[in-house]
């Protein structure tokens, strides 16, 4: 049995009960409900299910059909994409984050590049919505450290930037466009040295 903390967590107790008593007996029920009376009803309810499952262990296994699997997958995607949309809706953009810290892209580059220089062009791509996720680990950590944000907020801001990129100068023959590229491409195309590039691509 688990050591009893001052305020035992329901999940911890019931998971421990599940592991300790896969086929709960009367003695198991009495011992665990005495030890955790505040969860007695739950312990008994879970025991009932466990005994039902034990009784069915030798029965043929049923499999869900493809229609059920497809519907479940569709609902799963909805959950994941809804969560992402919520994350983006609740986020700040990079411009707001910089403005609130009285910074601009050159200042951000100086702060991030204190130990190893980072090209302003890479940061300009990030802030301007011209960089796709994922980014390098060191880069992510550095930006989050300087801006004092979580990686969740970083990627929410990146999604916002991608959704509303800052386009280049207008051309006489075409509307201005913003072409997003990968983090790796942005780093390799910059004016950084080979060692700086290896550093920011987490290759050393």
């Amino acid at each position: 049995m688990i050591d009893r903390p001052q305020t035992p967590d329901r999940d911890e107790v019931l998971l421990a009960f599940q592991e300790a008593c896969p086929r709960p007996t009367a003695r198991d029920l009495i011992d665990w409900t005495r030890r955790y009376p505040q969860f007695a009803e739950d312990i008994r309810a879970h025991a009932a299910v466990a005994r039902d499952w034990d009784a069915r262990r030798d029965l043929p296994v049923e499999e869900p059909d493809e229609t059920l699997l497809a519907r479940a997958y569709s609902r799963a995607l909805n959950v994941l994409y809804q969560a992402e949309a919520t994350r983006v809706d609740n986020g700040d953009c990079f411009q707001d984050m910089l403005a609130s810290r009285n910074m601009d892209v050159p200042a951000l580059a100086r702060e991030i590049g204190r130990d190893v220089r980072i090209s302003r062009s890479v940061l300009a791509d990030l802030v301007g919505g011209r960089m796709r996720a994922p980014v390098g680990r060191r880069f992510l950590d550095a930006v989050c450290r300087v801006l004092r944000i979580t990686c969740e907020r970083f990627y929410a801001a990146l999604d916002l930037a991608l959704a509303a990129p800052r386009v280049g100068l207008a051309r006489s023959d075409a509307a201005p466009t913003a072409n997003a590229r990968s983090y790796e491409d942005a780093v390799r195309a910059s004016d950084m040295s080979d060692s700086e590039i290896r550093y920011w691509l987490d290759e050393d």
């Binding site: 009367a26 879970h46 009932a48 299910v49 699997l69 959950v79 969560a83 796709r132 994922p134």
Partner: protein, 259 residues
């Protein structure tokens, strides 16, 4: 390399390129669900929706199959509502890495899934339960008769308890044999009923099913010397006896239909 299976280990959960390759090679179904769950979380910021969808599909199919096999068809809608609900909980947890389930599924996926499934089944059982005044009486509420006096005072059992002991109801579980009257009415040895299947199919109340399973284990209704059905389930003895009596009558009626 996994020595026991000689299979290639999964990529690190943050290795986008590795998971992309694994998905293209059709390897996802081989990996443990914890690993796929962790990769789905750790790569959630990746804008490559193709990989995310493949990870989600692999996890979704694995989860749904695990749940479907566990849930009996004796629930409303054949158990599909319960399966759907718990299946969604997995993906809500994947989207919230800091939640208890978001951490728990990464560590031990199947135990956590079974735990959440038990919660869902228990919740449905509570909601379906028809209020039963006798069955709802909990231990500790005032009772009447010699039984309480003997229990409370810790004295030697009075005449009623001695009579019960003589019936064998209060016998130690190891000495209690299978109740032969249970199958009274079975006209031939070959006409045996799977009691467990009967319970699943005909006894909707999970507490009553558990009581009857303990009864089949040989546990007495009430005892001052060992465990009892009453104490295990937090009900009084008369409720325990009534439940078993009801189920036995129902079982005998079923046997009668088949005779």
């Amino acid at each position: 390399m996994d020595a026991s299976t000689s299979e290639e280990p999964p990529p690190d959960t943050t290795d986008f390129a590795g998971w992309k390759r694994a998905a293209e090679q059709g390897l996802l179904p081989r990996f443990r669900p914890e690993t796929i769950f962790a990769a789905l979380q750790d790569l959630r910021f990746n804008t490559d929706s193709g990989l995310r969808n493949e990870l989600a599909r692999a996890l979704s199919n694995r989860t749904y199959r695990l749940l479907w096999r566990r849930v009996g068809r004796n629930h409303p809608n054949g158990g599909q509502d319960i399966v759907d609900r718990v299946h969604l909980q997995v993906f809500e947890a994947a989207a919230r890495p800091d939640s208890a389930d978001g951490r728990g599924f990464r560590q031990a996926f199947v135990p956590r899934l079974e735990y959440r499934l038990k919660d869902a089944i228990a919740k449905e059982a509570r909601e379906r339960r028809i209020p039963d005044e006798e069955g709802a009486r909990l231990q500790g509420k005032p009772q009447h008769g010699a039984r309480q006096t003997a229990d409370a005072a810790g004295t030697d059992p009075g005449p009623e308890e001695e009579a019960e002991a003589a019936d064998g109801e209060d016998a130690l579980p190891s000495k209690r044999a299978w109740d032969p009257t249970l199958l009274d009415g079975v006209c031939a040895a070959e006409q045996q009923i799977d009691v467990d299947r009967f319970l699943q199919a005909h006894i909707a109340d999970d507490r009553k099913r558990l009581a009857f399973r303990l009864f089949m284990d040989g546990v007495p209704f009430k005892s001052t010397r060992s465990e009892s059905i009453a104490e295990a389930l937090g009900i009084d003895e008369s409720t325990a006896r009534q439940w078993i009596k009801e189920i036995k009558a129902h079982l005998k009626a079923q046997i009668g239909d088949l005779a």
